[in-house]
Symmetry: C2
Subunit: 226 residues, 2 copies
DNA sequence: AGAGTAGAAGACCGGTCTGTCTGCTACCAG
DNA sequence: CTGGTAGCAGACAGACCGGTCTTCTACTCT
């Protein structure tokens, strides 16, 4: 049935346009008219599909969340062998996003900075933050950290700092070097000096392979939210 | 002459109202009408004094900058004796701001997140960032760090991370503990283990005593921008 | 071929935005 | 008392906001 396919296509174009505009200029600054103009979609279609601008923003944020999650999980599983390596790997993957020219900071931090009280933005940000803390906590636990939550809190702090520093100072290489060094020092302080190469690569239990939920159609190499 | 005094009073009330509303709800979300209503000032007076909303936002940000600078300099000089202690002290002073109930993140990070292209917000943020980097770099140099700029970049990153983590996760005590530990580890890694107590307190050359530029009138215990 | 429908285009509504302009009030100096 | 002025109150303009609704096109399925 092509009906669903067409409907999905309109939805996809709207989300694509919304992502670019909302992320690039802010969810409050960008009006509905500009979104539908870029998407090539009628206003009525937007309101039939999403119901309100707030819901569109929510969908945009959840798409960012899904994409970030999938990209991170894929990169960590593909490139790094041990939980310890993956802990540091998170920062290398992150540095790729904020080195992109169109990087403008964390989509969730930016959106919550201009959220009106009572919107759904706060809920989306909570989902994202819980994922981020869980990612670091699980990896820290797998790596054998004596205090996984404490290490995770520190690494989340570094992760946040890298994102903000990169946006405010526009010097991605410096930030990447700094965040990598800071993270490495924290990991070493918590886990002890890294062993050279004695235990074999370990299949992670905490990162599930990207389930390819519904993220547009596979392409989209666009920068997302670190 | 009471003319200047009255004029100054109107300006002060406008800045006070603008600070509370812009910081609390975002510079785009808050309209001119709400600012003048809270300030008890006529709209014409606002436009006579500031000329445009953008200029009002700029004045608000510069006031935040002045207040933050003065508060930090005062606390560092008053409470800490050596540059090394002051390096860590920055994070303790910062933790006081994000432990306040009305804390809503860094005013500059929030404002730039919703800035339209071509506004003066970016310029104000640059001023603030240069001050922040300079503060850490000067302290690191005074403390004898072998690579002051490198250490400063790392500490700025931690500073940014603490601000964002505190805003997003609403758990100031955890963030304060984490940022303090991370900063202490970085300082120790750069300067070596802290000597117990052999050299006397040092007058800082990099921090000048708060010059009391023009920050409203001395009161204002409000939380400002970390 | 004809019926049904998804969707594009855009007029329209009430509200709010920034910014301007006109009174009117209250104070102050001479 | 009188002229000058700072400043409050608010109407107003023009643009834009989110959201609704109608019209018409173009495609799909039977």
């Amino acid at each position: 049935m092509t009906t669903v396919d067409r409907s999905g296509s309109a939805r996809e174009r709207l989300l694509e346009a919304a992502s670019e505009l909302f992320y690039g200029e802010g969810v409050n600054t960008v009006g509905i008219d500009r979104v539908i103009e870029r998407a090539g979609v009628a206003k009525a279609s937007l309101y039939k599909i999403f119901g309100s601008k707030d819901e569109l923003i929510w969908a945009y944020l959840m798409e960012q969340h899904d994409a970030t999650k999938a990209r991170m999980a894929d990169a960590l599983l593909t490139r790094y062998a041990t939980p310890r390596e993956r802990l540091l790997g998170v920062f290398e993957v992150q540095s790729e996003t904020y080195s992109a020219a169109e990087f403008r900071g964390c989509a969730f931090a930016n959106a919550t900075a201009e959220a009106s009280a009572g919107s759904r933005i706060g809920g989306a940000a909570t989902v994202y933050r819980e994922w981020l803390h869980g990612l670091f906590t699980d990896l820290a636990r797998e790596a054998g950290a004596p205090d996984p939550v404490g290490l995770a809190t520190q690494l989340v702090l570094v992760y946040d700092g890298a994102s903000v520093s990169a946006r405010m100072d526009r010097d991605a290489p410096s930030v990447a070097a700094a965040s990598r060094r800071v993270a490495a020092a924290l990991i070493e302080a918590s886990l002890g000096p890294s062993e050279p190469r004695d235990r074999p690569p370990v299949k992670s239990a905490s990162i599930q392979k990207p389930q390819r939920t519904r993220t547009t159609s596979g392409k989209r190499p666009r920068a997302t939210a670190p």
